[in-house]
């Protein structure tokens, strides 16, 4: 498979949206991988956080189809450790919001059985709702 990369030509609209929603300047990332190394869920991600940032910067296709930003639970380990001061959790939230605002909410708890709904603590349900609604 061949992928064409055009740098510096045309507008990278997704990058612009992510930077606006997250308040983060992705050019600051120097690809050290500290975020990926400390992530408790990196094994479940289909693109590590540093690679996700690089894909965004280069305007590679298929970013919004990735699972990485849904897997992120917002534990802030990467944001706390980033030597460049990037709040990576905000970048993940921006990608979630772009998907949700363009594709509609998909609250996971609508698929739960009534018994599960009753057993789960409210903080789990509300957090899940908030992460899955725009």
């Amino acid at each position: 498979m061949t992928t064409s990369i055009r740098i510096g030509s045309g507008r990278n609209e997704l990058l612009q949206k992510v930077e606006a929603l997250s308040g983060q300047h992705l050019a600051n990332c120097y690809q050290c991988g500290t975020c990926a190394a400390g992530c408790p869920f990196h094994q479940a991600m289909d693109l590590l956080p540093d690679a996700l940032i690089q894909h965004l910067r280069l305007g590679l296709p298929g970013i919004l189809e990735r699972q990485t930003f849904w897997i992120c639970a917002g534990c802030d380990t990467c944001s706390d450790r980033c030597p460049r001061g990037l709040d990576i959790a905000r970048i993940m939230e921006a990608l979630r919001q772009i998907c949700l605002r363009e594709g509609g909410d998909h609250p996971a708890l609508t698929q739960l059985e009534r018994a599960d709904l009753g057993a789960l603590p409210p903080i789990a349900l509300v957090a899940s709702m908030r992460r899955n609604s725009g």
Partner: protein, 296 residues
């Protein structure tokens, strides 16, 4: 001494034992937590998008109510409430124009100037009561308890609102040592438990819980102590073998036991397997080292 108390939804619905134990041990320490009026859900997770002001309304409403009730500070038990309230408070202080917008949206009802302080109960215990005073109240030292303090995320991160060193926290360990327990440590104490993924990505939570419990056991723990009701739910209910689960307790419950309060008043049934396994001879004081650091 009195201080306003914000419970949050989960303490009332899913973790009443934490509240019962907290109120009991704070009474012993001479501190009365009085529940603030008209509190609402804090929103649970801090909104990370720059344009989502509506999601800051819930925590700001809590602060506005607090000020209307003449209170300057509020204490909470829940780590997620603590984190969400503290981060909303930062927004109020750094971006007053956002508070103006919320005030206008609410028809001037929600007026908040960012001057309130939100505290976690662990801060009150460490910074105001002090570990020495807590140790002085111990009547039944937990000498045979080898406990693994689990911090999770929201007590510690982001650093600007966290209440302890995010990489090497000590508050729960220091508290357990003051109660006479042996503290068992490991590098997964500060790793996320999977949080709300328990709703629909249970495998992520199961993997984190399995690794954490395995480390606690390998380092010699016979119980896990923690603070967050969501971590508690995940660690207590998602262990792979429920019949041989490592007991998971709130620090308030262990404080109550060490203070000599009856287990039933701490939300701990007095003859459960959990109690037998975690504290087989906790009430028989023996000379053992105060704190042994496990291999990290």
């Amino acid at each position: 001494m009195q201080i306003a108390y914000y419970p949050g939804c989960t303490i009332k619905v899913s973790a009443p034992e934490h509240e019962i134990a907290a109120l009991a041990v704070m009474r012993v320490l001479g501190l009365d937590l009085h529940e603030m009026r008209e509190w609402n859900c804090c929103g649970v997770v801090h909104s990370l998008a720059t344009d989502n002001l509506i999601r800051h309304m819930a925590p700001v409403r809590v602060f506005a109510r607090l000020q209307q009730q003449g209170e300057r500070e509020v204490v909470t038990l829940c780590d997620m409430c603590f984190n969400t309230l503290a981060r909303a408070n930062q927004v109020a202080r750094r971006q007053p124009e956002q508070m103006d917008a919320i005030k206008a949206t609410s028809g001037d009802e929600l007026n908040y100037d960012g001057s309130a302080e939100v505290l976690h109960l662990l801060q009150i215990l460490r910074d105001r009561v002090g570990m020495a005073a807590i140790k002085a109240r111990v009547r039944q030292p937990l000498h045979n308890l080898r406990v693994y303090p689990y911090y999770g995320c929201k007590l510690l991160r982001p650093t600007e609102v966290g209440l302890d060193d995010p990489e090497v926290p000590t508050v729960l360990g220091d508290l357990m040592a003051a109660l006479g327990a042996t503290v068992v440590e490991g590098n997964l104490q500060t790793r996320c438990c999977g949080a709300y993924h328990v709703v629909n990505r249970e495998n992520l939570v199961a993997e984190r819980v399995a690794a954490t419990v395995a480390q606690a056991r390998a380092n010699g723990a016979n119980a896990i102590v923690l603070s967050c009701p969501l971590c508690h739910f995940n660690l207590a209910t998602r262990q792979s073998n429920p019949d041989h689960a490592l007991p998971v307790l709130y620090y308030t419950q262990l404080m109550g036991l060490a203070f000599g309060l009856p287990p039933a008043t701490l939300g701990l049934p007095d003859a459960t397997a959990l109690f037998e396994e975690a504290l087989p001879t906790a009430h028989h004081a023996q000379a053992v080292p105060m704190c042994t650091k496990g291999e990290r």
